[in-house]
């Protein structure tokens, strides 16, 4: 079934480095389009800095709004990189090769974008920078480690540092490759980044071990990041937030949306850079099967959350549940989450025919992320709007144009950074592709030739 086309070394190098040297018209469209949205984003953030948070739709009791929802969403997307590259590396899944690089890069950019949100959303962002670094040295007053908002940066910075180092380590051999076949500023850049890589046996051995070791180390960090983000909500006493299940629930939701985002990215790369020989249908097939399991796990936690929120049968929880399940517009939102997040994509993925169809995979993965964005909104907002018995203070939340621009702009930001990255660095790991070719074998079983792969252990 594998339509595997044996590629030459030179062919691999040339095709995978193509986005670095040629800019297709579609890439120009991408740069200009995303750049324009990005300009709006920058304008909106500056506007908000200048006038203050009054220009948002936030008020009492809706102190957190679109920006926090979007923060959680992007943190979720950032979980794709590790999920794909670490778990697949550890299990030595062959289909990881074309997707690890892109997934890791997406992790880093979406994490950076996510981190932007809590900073710009504070009342005094200029003071917030103190808070990321130890605060007020001269008064000996450091951040209160009892607060989840301090756990947050500690986890996110660990994850960002770890995944950046991870990405860089696996990129060194490709930097050497680029060094050997470029001139000018690129040559200088790649020479510096390649650190004098020569590709001897010891270096390759270290590279392979590093892949496993860093994967093993970053997995527990990955789980902790979204857990801690979930505790931002769960440790408070807001009804429907104060749920013990939030940590694993957020993590599995993050994997669901993150892996779907990787599918989106794979389809886009295939289309934009014409990587058909590398990102093959069998990869969509494999990732689709993974998504069925992840999606079903997500559904289980989703239902656990709902069931055990109703379980105490307390008026305050039921009030919010009734509100978010049955009242306009949340009833539509609920349906959207269920249908987009599970009931359309997963039954489709069950059929191999559809898993091997790039268009279908692309659109279902988009659907999942629409559903998952809605899910974050659904999780975070109703609890604030109907907090406890204070009907006097219940209120709707309407995002302002500034917040909407920031949310849309964040997508442009990640897209733009990804495009810039793929202009400078190969978006598919070249050496891992070649390794795959080196390790490929065939087994003869009777009359059938089975594709096989060398395992080192």
């Amino acid at each position: 079934m594998q339509e595997r086309h044996r590629l030459g070394e030179e062919e691999i190098t040339r095709e995978l480095l193509r986005p670095l040297v040629t800019t297709t018209p579609m890439m120009w469209v991408g740069f200009i389009g995303l750049g324009a949205v990005l300009a709006i984003f920058v304008f909106a953030v500056s506007w908000m800095f200048y006038w203050g948070l009054g220009v948002t739709g936030l008020q009492r009791p809706n102190m957190w709004g679109f920006m926090i929802v979007n923060f959680v969403f992007w943190i979720g997307i950032s979980h794709a990189g590790v999920m794909i590259s670490a778990i697949l590396r550890l299990t030595q899944a062959e289909w990881r090769r074309p997707v690890t690089r892109a997934a890791e890069v997406m992790t880093i950019f979406s994490l950076m974008t996510a981190m932007l949100h809590p900073v710009i959303h504070t009342g005094r962002p200029w003071r917030t920078l103190y808070w990321v670094f130890p605060y007020d040295f001269w008064r000996n007053l450091w951040p209160d480690v009892r607060g989840p908002l301090v756990w947050d940066p500690s986890a996110i910075l660990t994850y960002l540092t770890g995944s950046t180092l991870f990405l860089y380590t696996t990129m060194i051999p490709d930097m050497a490759l680029a060094r050997d076949r470029t001139i000018g500023w690129r040559k200088v850049l790649y020479t510096i980044l390649a650190l004098g890589w020569r590709g001897n046996e010891r270096q390759w051995k270290m590279q392979t071990i590093a892949g496993f070791l860093l994967s093993g180390l970053i997995l527990p960090v990955f789980v902790s990041v979204h857990s801690i983000v979930s505790w931002d909500f769960a440790v408070s006493l807001v009804p429907t937030w104060h749920a013990t299940v939030f940590a694993p629930y957020f993590v599995i939701g993050a994997i669901h949306s993150g892996v779907s985002a990787v599918v989106t990215l794979m389809a886009l790369m295939r289309w934009l850079f014409r990587f058909d020989h590398y990102i093959r249908l069998e990869h969509f097939d494999a990732i689709g099967r993974l998504l069925i399991a992840v999606g079903t796990g997500w559904l289980w936690f989703f239902l656990l959350d709902i069931f055990f929120a109703i379980y105490p049968q307390e008026a305050r929880e039921l009030e919010i549940m009734d509100f978010r399940l049955f009242q306009w517009p949340f009833n539509v939102l609920t349906a959207l989450i269920f249908i987009f997040g599970y009931f359309i994509p997963v039954p489709i993925w069950i059929f191999q025919r559809f898993r091997r169809n790039v268009k279908i995979m692309f659109w279902t993965s988009i659907l999942v992320n629409v559903g998952m964005w809605a899910e974050r909104y659904w999780l975070i907002k109703p609890g604030l709007m109907r907090k406890y018995e204070w009907t006097f203070d219940w209120n709707w939340y309407r995002p302002s144009i500034v917040e909407i621009s920031i949310v849309l702009g964040s997508f442009a930001l990640v897209g733009f950074l990804l495009l810039v990255f793929s202009k400078i660095f190969p978006p598919i790991s070249v050496w891992e592709e070649k390794e795959g070719q080196h390790f490929a074998q065939q087994l003869q079983v009777g009359k059938r030739v089975v594709n096989a792969i060398v395992r080192e252990f």
């Binding site: 071990i209 496993f212 749920a243 013990t244 299940v245 694993p248 105490p312 594709n451 792969i453």
Partner: protein, 464 residues
């Protein structure tokens, strides 16, 4: 935490250099010889089982269903069997779905525990009358008529059925071997069970699909069953225990125990069952990694609950913490924390230990004990609550009952029920060959040890 420092790469396991006829010979050898050796342990288990049944009749049954506390250890035995024996077949499905070839000799060791499912099912039926109805108390059934009795029983029945189907279907090709080559005593049942299996191309194709799908079905039933059980047996019986992560904790720690049970079974098979060729370091290493991962998950799911309660510090949360972890059941908690998380982590984080036979086996034994203590802790806390504390939608634990200390009959019940499960497995092992001939032979084609220039490498086939 992954892998490093294996002097020269690959340990080349003998399994993959055997010919199909060797595997068949081993399987038939098991059928001829081991059956006789199993007679004594089988008898011991039977005696213990009978004593356990007598203990159930003597104490809980005599005290009646209204006294829930008397049933604590019956419930503990039930939950423990559900967490270990019933979880083991799920592992085999997971490995099948992941399409790893090393698992082929492991599958039978985990699937065979599916035959014990009848025992927890019967215990469950016995325990059902001890529950008050759900109309006037908090439960996941929300006062649905005939809950929790009827609906829980239906779920358990579905699980038991799926489990037996799974064990049966996955061993049909091997049963055909027994039918054709077993001793006359073994043949009758095997012939009936193996039906018209001749091993045609069509049959094999159907077999692979069906076994996979029933395995997945089993997991898909197992998870909701554990969710319902954890809710019915523990959450709903402790007033104010409002936690959504507990069913997940319960399920995940059950998978952990299921893996541990498989490892222990493998070690026993290797030591006394002549399976050294099939269950080598590769299998123990792989499952050791899995066990380590689930030990970390044990902590994660426990912590997810703890940090919320500790931070929220609502009175009802504090009293639940006091009951389950800090005061009443402090030592069982500390023990289970150490045995399910701390010790496995500290031991298994070293790759040389993971890559041995003894390392994962010792840790698996520790985990199995830790899980038992954990289940006893939770059941004791839950079954000590009188009905008066539950009825009328209790939202808080007002009075923390004293810790339940087991009597001699409680221990007899526990040991007896576990021996009963073991008895079923031993009995089945007389009719089923080890290793699973069909599984292992099917993998021989897809895995080879080949020279690669100066290296010898493992080549893994990836059909489809």
């Amino acid at each position: 935490m992954a892998t490093h420092s294996h002097a020269h790469g690959h340990e080349l396991q003998r399994t993959w250099e055997l010919a199909p006829s060797d595997v068949l010979a081993n399987g038939l050898g098991w059928l001829r010889e081991v059956g006789r050796r199993l007679r004594t342990p089988l008898l011991i288990c039977f005696v213990l089982f009978v004593i356990g049944i007598l203990a159930i009749v003597a104490t809980p049954l005599r005290q009646g269903f209204a006294n829930r506390q008397a049933w604590t250890y019956v419930a503990a035995a039930f939950l423990y069997l559900m967490s270990t024996a019933a979880a083991a077949p799920a592992l085999s499905t997971a490995l099948r779905v992941a399409r790893s070839h090393w698992r082929r000799p492991v599958n039978r060791a985990s699937e065979i525990w599916g035959v014990t499912l009848i025992l927890p099912f019967l215990l469950y039926l016995l325990l059902l009358p001890t529950f008050p109805g759900t109309e006037d108390r908090l439960s996941i059934w929300f006062g649905w008529p005939l809950s929790p009795w009827l609906w829980g029983a239906i779920l358990m029945l579905a699980l038991t059925g799926a489990g037996y189907l799974f064990v049966w279907f996955s061993s049909v090709p091997d049963l055909a071997i027994v039918r054709d080559h077993g001793t006359p005593a073994q043949r009758g049942l095997a012939a009936w069970l193996s039906r018209g299996w001749v091993g045609s191309h069509r049959q094999w194709r159907i077999y692979e699909k069906v076994v996979n799908n029933i395995g997945v079905l089993y997991v898909l039933i197992y998870v909701p069953v554990m969710t319902v059980l954890s809710s019915d047996f523990i959450i709903a019986l402790i007033p104010g225990y409002f936690t959504a992560v507990f069913p997940a904790y319960f399920t995940i720690s059950s998978f952990q125990a299921g893996i541990a049970l498989t490892i222990v079974t493998m070690a026993v098979l290797r030591r006394w069952g002549g399976q050294a060729d099939y269950l080598g370091r590769e299998q123990f290493w792989a499952l050791g990694k899995l066990l380590l991962a689930f030990s970390l998950l044990w902590f994660y799911f426990w912590w997810s609950e703890f940090i919320i309660f500790w931070y929220g510090r609502m009175p009802r949360e504090i009293s639940v913490l006091k009951l389950l972890m800090a005061e009443t059941y402090r030592w069982p908690f500390v023990l289970s924390f150490a045995m399910n998380f701390a010790l496995p982590l500290l031991i298994l984080m070293w790759n040389p230990i993971r890559r041995s036979i003894a390392g994962p086996t010792v840790v698996a034994t520790i985990v199995l004990l830790g899980n038992l203590i954990d289940r006893i802790r939770l059941t004791s806390a839950a079954f000590s609550q009188p009905d008066s504390a539950l009825l009328g939608h209790a939202h808080e634990l007002h009075e923390i009952p004293a810790a339940y200390v087991p009597g001699i009959s409680d221990l007899l019940i526990l040991v007896g029920m576990l021996a009963g499960a073991l008895m079923l497995v031993l009995w089945t092992a007389r009719y089923l060959p080890f290793p699973s001939v069909a599984e292992v032979v099917g993998g021989l084609w897809l895995r080879a040890h080949k020279p690669f220039k100066h290296a010898r490498v493992i080549v893994v086939g990836k059909p489809e």
